[in-house]
């Protein structure tokens, strides 16, 4: 009897044009290649190869977000190189520093590049976010991207898979972020190394697409090659009218597929949680860290800068006043405008938050909210590594938008269920 196939085996098999199994190496043509401000350095490496043109310019998607608008002349040089390269290649999918932009992973999905069954490579580790749409999406380095542009090919080992079965529904004040922080604590930061993480079950079907993006986004923080949810009706509704490729196809794992490991969770048992400094798997329930004094709160990033995240914060902050500086960065201008229209931005401004333009902001320590030595930040972003927000003697707690908002209100890490 042959075993069923995992999602990764099906997606990579479809791309390779033959049946494949875990641990085989395949060479595939990517459906899209995503890069951001690092497009400048990639284009320099590309030129060293000696090929004049990228294999298919319409397969490149370039979205400037890491330092926008350019915080320094060096950043501006990168942007200029990316702009000129895309123009010289006649590559149509370039998202410059305009109100059509945003954080690359958010824009990539909003613009309909993240489609079921497609193979996407991105020169950014959080490329795995697109798995929320049933895409096989994985992060690579710059040199590898330059080579893919030249050859239209990349080698990938078909990963083994981890199955995460999810049932139940969240209680009030608990979100997808609290759940995935708990999973990261259990799986550990290398527990899914080289693997494909599949999220299964009615708990996922109940969850919003935005929440699933948060789950898949953090797959890399467990070492995963990719993370994925089944592309159901919610996903098909979202992508309708946005599709940038006709060749997508919903794929999902067979019931009898073979998994390296499996985990089971009931969302009803999840409570607000954090990742303590300085590792992403340093999980604690909110009760263990409540009362920790903070200097800054950050709401944004590819992990948690979407409309439902901003609304969650506004739900807590509306009509109240923050106690510490709070930086809000919508993940895209589409999100920003929606949050303007429904009054969310006003509620956050009235509470004392500052709202910056869409982009990565302080998540990687570039600008717009870097920390001083000794300072502590509670953040909705994805990494709390030493030095991540610009200074190695500062401290980062990762948490949900609710927890960040409740903590901003009190000036110390706080349980959002007490103020909802």
């Amino acid at each position: 009897m042959t075993m069923g196939k995992t999602f990764a085996e099906k997606a990579l098999g479809r791309a390779a044009g033959r049946e494949v199994s875990a641990n085989e190496v395949v060479t595939v043509e990517p459906d899209f290649c995503m890069s951001h401000d690092n497009t400048g350095p990639i284009s320099r490496t590309f030129k060293k190869i000696g090929v004049a043109n990228v294999w298919k310019p319409e397969r490149l998607v370039v979205i400037l977000d890491h330092g926008v608008p350019a915080p320094s002349s060096d950043h501006a040089v990168n942007h200029k190189e990316a702009r000129e390269f895309m123009a010289s290649q006649g590559a149509p999918h370039f998202y410059d520093v305009t109100s059509a932009g945003g954080v690359c992973h958010q824009k990539f999905c909003e613009e309909g590049f993240a489609l079921p069954g497609l193979i996407v490579i991105g020169s950014d580790s959080h490329t795995c976010t697109y798995g929320a749409f049933g895409t096989f999406a994985t992060g690579i380095g710059r040199t590898e991207m330059a080579a893919a542009w030249a050859t239209g090919k990349i080698w990938l080992k078909v990963p083994e898979s981890i199955k995460i079965n999810v049932t139940g529904r969240f209680k009030v004040g608990v979100t997808a972020k609290d759940f995935i922080l708990k999973v990261m604590g259990d799986v550990r930061s290398d527990g899914a190394d080289y693997m494909s993480v599949e999220f299964h079950g009615d708990g996922i079907e109940e969850m919003s697409v935005a929440g699933r993006m948060t789950l898949c986004n953090l797959g890399i923080e467990m070492g995963a090659k990719n993370a994925v949810c089944r592309p159901d009706g919610k996903v098909l509704d979202f992508i309708k009218g946005r599709e940038k490729s006709p060749s997508w196809e919903p794929l999902w794992a067979d019931a009898d597929a073979l998994y390296a490991r499996a985990f089971n969770y009931d969302l009803g048992e999840i409570v607000p949680g954090v990742a303590k400094p300085h590792t992403v798997d340093n999980y604690a329930e909110i009760g263990e860290v409540a009362g920790t004094k903070i200097d800054q709160a950050f709401l944004g990033s590819c992990t948690n800068g979407r409309l439902e995240d901003l609304r969650a914060a506004a739900e807590i902050l509306s009509g109240r006043r923050i106690a510490v500086r709070t930086i809000v960065i919508p993940a895209s201008w589409e999100v920003y405008r929606a949050a303007m229209r429904d009054g969310t931005i006003d509620a956050l401004l009235d509470a004392g938050c500052i709202v910056c333009n869409s982009g990565c902001g302080p998540c990687l320590g570039a600008h717009m909210g870097t920390l001083a030595p000794g300072e502590t930040c509670v953040s909705t972003a994805n990494r709390n590594f030493k030095g991540r927000m610009g200074n190695k003697d500062s401290f980062i707690f990762l948490a949900s938008p609710y927890t960040v908002a409740a903590s901003a209100l009190a000036g110390k890490i706080s349980d959002p269920r007490e103020v909802l």
Partner: protein, 164 residues
């Protein structure tokens, strides 16, 4: 190929932010300038004193986190002779191979050496001489061997496209 060098020993889960801090990712663009920041937020002693040929020995999940290739380039430019770890994070593993930076997976070596020990790696034989013992390591998978033999991904691609 043989590499002989002084050990810099580290623990588990060393991430790419401490290998090459994010604040430099768009302000330091020349490869030759990257080596001076290597491991700045992990071990200023390394940043100041590492010499060409030195060998990094680490625990599990070396290079986790960001895909930033500068984490591999800064070590290559600093002249690191090899990285030996219990395991590597996936993207960094590929970045090192693509840079032609020799990396070895070994669960034993970390327990046999201290910072400052001298060790030798013989890539042909697949042997590491450390702490008076010889530890074997398997060759790279076949499809990676060509990449390594050509000195990294760009020379490998040029060769495969007939542009070398």
């Amino acid at each position: 190929m043989k590499v002989k060098g002084r050990v810099w020993k580290y623990g588990d889960d060393v991430n790419t932010d401490v290998i090459f801090p994010g604040k430099y990712t768009y302000t330091v663009s020349e490869r030759a300038d990257m080596g001076q920041y290597a491991l700045e937020d992990l071990d200023p002693g390394f940043t100041k004193n590492a010499k060409p040929g030195d060998i990094i020995v680490a625990g599990k999940n070396w290079g986790c986190g960001s895909s930033r290739e500068q984490a591999a380039i800064c070590l290559k430019e600093r002249g690191v002779g090899a990285i030996i770890a219990k395991s590597f994070a996936r993207i960094h593993y590929r970045n090192c191979l693509n840079e032609g930076l020799p990396i070895i997976i070994s669960s034993e070596v970390q327990g046999l050496v201290e910072s400052g020990s001298e060790i030798e790696v013989d890539f042909e034989k697949g042997e590491i001489s450390a702490g008076g013992q010889v530890v074997k390591f398997p060759p790279y998978p076949e499809f990676v061997q060509g990449l390594v033999a050509d000195g990294g991904l760009i020379p490998h691609v040029k060769k495969s496209l007939g542009l070398a």
